[in-house]
C-alpha cells in the first residue's frame, strides 16, 4: 500500500483560499467607493434638504458596517432637523439581508424615510439605487476579480 503525504497540498489550498478571501475583501472596499460615488453623483433626483445624497452609504457588510450606517444616519438626521421643505424624517431600519458564512456583500442605502418613494413613485421617475446597482454591477465584478487575481499572483 502506498501512502501519500498531502499536507503541503492542503496547506497550499488553504493559503490560496485565504488569498482569494483577502483579495475579495480588498475589492469590496474599492467597489463600495465606486458604488457610493456613482450614486451620490446621480442626477435622477434633485433633492431639497440634501439628506438623501449626504447620507448615501455603500459599504461592505462586515463588522464595521453598523458604525458606518450610524454615522450616515446621523448625517441625515442633522440635515433634516429644522428643515421645513418637506416632512421627511431620518430613518434607519433592518435591511433583512443576512449573509451566509462564506458570502460577502456591499450594501447601498441612504437614511431617509422617503428613500423608497424616490425609487418607486411615478414609475421610478427618480429612482437611483436600482439604476446605480445595474450600472456598477459589471465594473464591480471586474474590480473584485482583478483584486483576487493580484492577491493570488502575489
Amino acid at each position: 500500500m502506498m501512502t501519500l503525504d498531502d499536507t503541503k497540498l492542503t496547506q497550499g489550498l488553504a493559503g490560496l483560499l485565504a488569498r482569494i478571501n483577502e483579495g475579495a475583501d480588498a475589492g469590496l472596499v474599492e467597489v463600495s467607493d465606486l458604488i457610493e460615488t456613482t450614486d451620490t453623483q446621480t442626477d435622477a433626483y434633485r433633492g431639497q434638504s440634501g439628506a438623501t445624497r449626504a447620507s448615501t452609504l455603500a459599504a461592505p457588510l462586515d463588522a464595521n458596517y453598523a458604525s458606518k450606517a450610524a454615522s450616515a444616519f446621523n448625517v441625515a438626521a442633522s440635515l433634516l432637523t429644522g428643515f421645513s421643505g418637506h416632512d421627511g424624517k431620518p430613518l434607519s431600519e433592518e435591511s433583512g439581508v443576512t449573509l451566509g458564512p462564506h458570502e460577502k456583500g456591499v450594501m447601498l442605502t441612504n437614511f431617509t424615510d422617503y428613500a423608497e418613494n424616490l425609487e418607486r413613485d411615478a414609475a421610478g421617475e427618480k429612482a437611483h439605487i436600482g439604476p446605480t446597482i445595474a450600472e456598477t454591477a459589471l465594473p464591480a465584478t471586474q474590480l473584485i476579480a482583478g483584486f483576487i487575481k493580484s492577491e493570488v499572483e502575489g
Binding site: N117, R120, D121, A122, A123, G124, E125, G130, P131, T132, A134, E135, T136, A137, L138, P139
Partner: protein, 137 residues
C-alpha cells in the same frame, strides 16, 4: 433599433406581446413611463390596467456586449386591488423568453416589486417587473 426600442416593441407590437395586449384590452394601455406625468387627472390615464416602460442603466461595451436594465410598471384602479396586476405578471414574463426572443439581444427576468400604491400617480395600485437585456458580443 436601440435596446430600449426593441424591448418596448416586444410588448407594444411584437407577436410575443399579443397575450399582454389582449389582457390589457388595448395597445394604447402601453405607454412610456415619462408620459405618466402628462396626465393631470386619473380619468385621463390610459384604460386600466395599463403598463408603463422605463429604460434603465446600461453598462458594458461593444466588444463584450452591453447589458441594459428596463422595467415595466403595471397600474390598475384601486377597486381592483392587485388581482389584475398579478394576473398580468406571468404574461409579461412570458413575452421575454430567456433566449433568442429578440433579434439583437436576449433578456433575463430579474424580479417583481412588492405591492404598493404609487403616491405620485393617484395612489394607484402598482407593481414593477425588472428585466436585463444583453446584446450579443
Amino acid at each position: 433599433m436601440t435596446i430600449a426600442a426593441t424591448t418596448y416593441a416586444q410588448l407594444a407590437t411584437a407577436s410575443e406581446g399579443a397575450a399582454v395586449r389582449a389582457a390589457l384590452g388595448s395597445a394604447a394601455s402601453i405607454i412610456p413611463a415619462d408620459k405618466l406625468r402628462t396626465f393631470t387627472d386619473a380619468q385621463a390615464l390610459p384604460a386600466r390596467p395599463f403598463i408603463a416602460y422605463r429604460g434603465g442603466s446600461q453598462s458594458g461595451n461593444r466588444r463584450d456586449g452591453i447589458r441594459a436594465q428596463f422595467r415595466w410598471w403595471i397600474y390598475d384602479d384601486a377597486r381592483y386591488g392587485y388581482s389584475r396586476i398579478n394576473a398580468l405578471i406571468p404574461l409579461l414574463i412570458a413575452a421575454y423568453p430567456d433566449e433568442d426572443a429578440l433579434s439583437d439581444c436576449y433578456t433575463v427576468f430579474n424580479g417583481a416589486s412588492d405591492e404598493r400604491p404609487d403616491a405620485a400617480i393617484f395612489q394607484m395600485p402598482c407593481r414593477s417587473l425588472t428585466f436585463t437585456a444583453f446584446t450579443r458580443s
